[in-house]
């Protein structure tokens, strides 16, 4: 029976495990890097400790042994760092990060319910190696001290060994669970007797197996218990401590006894400790003769931990997890609600015309108003629920940049700002890949190697700034490196070589347009194709992914100074307020957020320059696009009055010629579907109040397109 068969009915727990551990892993990645950079704060070390601790705990319950062991070892290191017995160093971080990577793979396997056998011995050894204190004067952990001499073990039949292991483990388990209440239960004779018996059994069994060290430890522990039983000494935490060390010691032996190269462990340290108590009877310094177990002097020793909540007052999380599918459903239903509301408003308009003046009509009106308000609130709440901080994406990057830097032998520092900026879930999902490509490019092509940087008088470390912020209805993500910048001449030459543009076209292109050529499919300027930056598909993907989000990418680059990518993405994709316009007999929607203003068209103001229509508007020249020409809309005869809608992106403007402005409407943007994919100039479709489908104009694409036409 496989692992997952045994776990039938535990789907929820496994899913919890995957979700929680993934979050912990992300946090660990981030925290370990911070730790490596030298920012050692108590809070952070505690958090890393807790993360490993939690993974250890949950994996223990789920019988994920390899995972449990690794987490336990990692936790040990962190505990030593926490108690300042160990100083974090970069080698140690490498091993811990490797462990975290292992967890990543493991969680992936669990998520897909893949059952594997894992060999973690190398990793465990590496962790062990790093948890050795360099200063041998510090107290030595008895468990890890392997004695060199290989003791001769008596040949014992295999079944007996197995029996010994399972029985010992059982006893050790209960001892672990029972020993600590010794102080409280010292008066309970039966309780102390059972502890005594446990050690006694262990002594006998181990002696039978020829495990002298274990037998020795069990024997001395038994002696100690004997004194406790006869009330010759009173239990103290020191005694409990040393007995627990015995249990730990024996556990190590039991776990290793079956392996081929069994090395016995040196028990002398432990035995000496045990003898200290046995020899000193009766009384152990703080015994006060009446068997009371809580000497008050010890209470003062309790480590005072800093009161939480002073330095980092975080708001208490009271959250629940909701399946994405349910949220998605709610979102769609909220969208439908908007559509139905639009229908109701339309019908109400008709009713008004028919029965104007009736009392019920004004009631209906106010009802419509309040319904509209509630709908808007529901919509906003659902949108809010879908918002995630961009740190979800960003937090992977420090680790990635660190590794990329190491691979490329470049020193790179990544500075992140605005990770709290919130984005819609769907946007978060799409933005990761493009940013990965851009970061890889920045490290691979953008930044110079250390030698070159020093020669150029730049600081050793290349710096990449990654930031996010909200501006109006847009999220702006900026990624800037201080590397060599993009040389338009090289780009132009490459583009001509690769046949992406003709030499003639190149001469008329602006610097900006030439740089934008790097987004063309098949363009890659890397001298050597590396593992890191791929094969010229990266930038293409960046552009198309961001276009999918109705966003735009802008490049600012200065030779020798570096390159900045500015990504602009609309805050929400699904519900927008749109201006409903008529173009001859067809209805289109223009997203309101992109409209600057509307003016009446006066044909005599329009001029033609090089085949393009333009109009003087205020102080500058406005390219004009006639929507009927753009979308091949047949003219009907009667219209003559026309309007210009002025739409803009952050740097250019454009005038769209339409026949009539109908009004504003809440629109639920629906994609055009798999078959059509992205249609040029169209952002999507929506169902209007009267049930008809209208197309939504992709203004940012039109503005960009017009910009290019302008110079062509």
């Amino acid at each position: 029976m496989g692992l997952f068969d045994q776990m039938a009915g535990m789907e929820d727990i496994l899913n919890d495990f995957v979700v929680e551990t993934t979050e912990l892993i992300e946090q660990l990645d981030e925290d370990l890097l911070t730790l490596e950079s030298g920012e050692v704060s108590e809070d952070m070390v505690n958090r890393i400790f807790r993360s490993f601790h939690t993974i250890k705990g949950t994996s223990g319950f789920l019988n994920f042994e390899a995972c449990n062991q690794l987490a336990h070892s990692a936790e040990n290191i962190l505990n030593l760092i926490r108690t300042k017995e160990l100083e974090p160093n970069s080698k140690m971080m490498d091993v811990l990060l490797e462990t975290v990577d292992w967890f990543k793979g493991f969680v992936g396997d669990i998520a897909e319910r893949v059952e594997k056998t894992y060999d973690i011995s190398e990793l465990l050894d590496a962790i062990e190696l790093n948890s050795k204190q360099p200063d041998s004067a510090k107290k030595v952990d008895q468990r890890s001290e392997r004695s060199k001499l290989k003791q001769s073990t008596v040949e014992v039949p295999r079944e007996l060994v197995q029996e010994f292991i399972s029985e010992s483990n059982e006893i050790l388990e209960t001892l672990d669970n029972d020993l600590l209440v010794l102080e409280l239960e010292a008066d309970d004779e039966e309780y102390v007797n059972s502890l005594f018996r446990a050690f006694h059994t262990l002594k006998g069994n181990s002696s039978l197996m020829g495990l002298e060290s274990m037998s020795d430890v069990a024997h001395k522990s038994e002696d100690l218990l004997g004194l406790l039983r006869e009330k010759k000494i009173t239990p103290s935490s020191d005694i409990v401590d040393v007995l627990l060390s015995s249990v730990d010691f024996m556990r190590v032996i039991v776990s290793e006894v079956d392996s081929d190269e069994f090395n016995d462990h040196d028990p002398s340290d432990l035995v000496n400790k045990l003898l200290q108590f046995v020899g000193k009877s009766p009384g152990n310094g703080n015994g006060n003769g009446n068997g009371k177990t809580h000497p008050s002097a010890e209470d003062k020793e309790i480590k005072k931990s800093p009161v939480s909540g002073s330095a980092s007052v975080k708001k208490i999380e009271s959250t629940i997890r909701v399946d994405v599918e349910r949220l998605e459903k709610l979102m769609n239903q909220a969208g439908e609600l908007v559509l139905e509301k639009n229908r109701l408003i339309q019908i109400s308009q008709l009713m008004k015309q028919k029965f104007s003046g009736e009392k019920e009509i004004s009631d209906l009106d106010s009802l419509n108003n309040s319904l509209g308000n509630v709908t808007t609130l529901i919509q906003e709440s659902v949108m809010q629920m879908r918002m995630l901080p961009i740190s979800k994406v960003f937090r992977k990057f420090p680790r990635m940049v660190r590794d990329l830097g190491k691979e490329n032998k470049k020193e790179v520092e990544l500075v992140i700002k605005g990770e709290d900026t919130e984005l819609d879930r769907s946007v978060i999902e799409c933005i990761g890949d493009p940013l990965v490509h851009l970061l890889r490019n920045a490290v691979d092509h953008g930044l110079e190697d250390t030698e070159t940087r020093l020669k150029l008088g730049k600081q050793r470390k290349g710096v990449i700034h990654l930031s996010a912020c909200q501006k109006g209805n847009y999220i702006i993500i900026e990624l800037a490196d201080d590397g060599s910048g993009i040389d338009p001449e090289i780009i132009a030459r490459k583009a001509v070589e690769k046949g992406i543009i003709t030499e003639e076209a190149q001469r008329t292109m602006s610097r900006k347009d030439i740089i934008n050529l790097i987004f063309k499919p098949g363009f890659s300027t890397a001298k050597v194709i590396t593992d890191v930056s791929g094969r010229g598909v990266g930038m293409d993907v960046v552009h198309s992914n961001i276009a999918k989000l109705n966003g735009s990418v802008e490049i600012k680059s200065e030779i020798g100074r570096g390159t900045t990518f500015i990504i602009k993405i609309p805050l929400t994709l699904t519900i927008q307020t749109g201006m409903v316009v008529r173009v001859w007999n067809e209805i289109y929607i223009v997203p309101l957020q992109n409209i600057l203003e509307t003016v009446k068209l006066q044909e005599n103001q329009i001029e033609k320059i090089r085949g393009c229509e333009i109009m003087k508007y205020r102080d500058f020249v406005l390219p004009i696009v006639r929507m009927d020409e753009l979308y091949n809309i047949p003219h009907s005869d009667e219209d003559s009055d026309q309007f210009i809608i002025i739409v803009a992106n952050e740097e250019s403007k454009l005038g769209l010629v339409v026949s009539e402005l109908i009004g504003q409407e809440e629109t639920v943007v629906k994609p055009m579907g798999e078959v059509l994919g992205k249609v040029p100039g169209i952002a999507g479709a929506t169902i209007r109040g009267d049930g008809r489908i209208s197309l939504i104009v992709d203004t940012s694409e039109l503005v960009e397109g017009a910009g290019l036409k302008e110079v062509a």
Partner: protein, 127 residues
Amino acid sequence: MENIKVLFVEDSPTMRRIIMNSLTKIGFSDVIQAEHGEDALKKIKGETVDLILTDWNMPEMNGEELVRYLRKSEKYKDTPIVMITTRGMKDDVLNAIKLGVNGYVVKPFTPEILKKKLAKFFDLYAG
């Protein structure tokens, strides 16, 4: 067992679900769950719980701080508190006992082990 109100404090959602399964199996139906000490104190305001089961390593307010706080209060100075811990956390357990924790249970544990531990305080095997 229905009339025993349990406070169960644990920061890991996975662990919460696992241990809740155990508690349900044992027969506890009245359980207040909390994510950490502060959350626990908030949630037991106005309630009286008969048994407290708490993890030790938690963010915000850890087990140590929670137990210290509870033991100072008149209402909870004698309420049984059982600590949830893992192997290797010896110092924590010793500390907890000094602070007045009545018992502890080492992760991972089966519902039966937990039941045995809790049977010290309530008659869980009757009926």
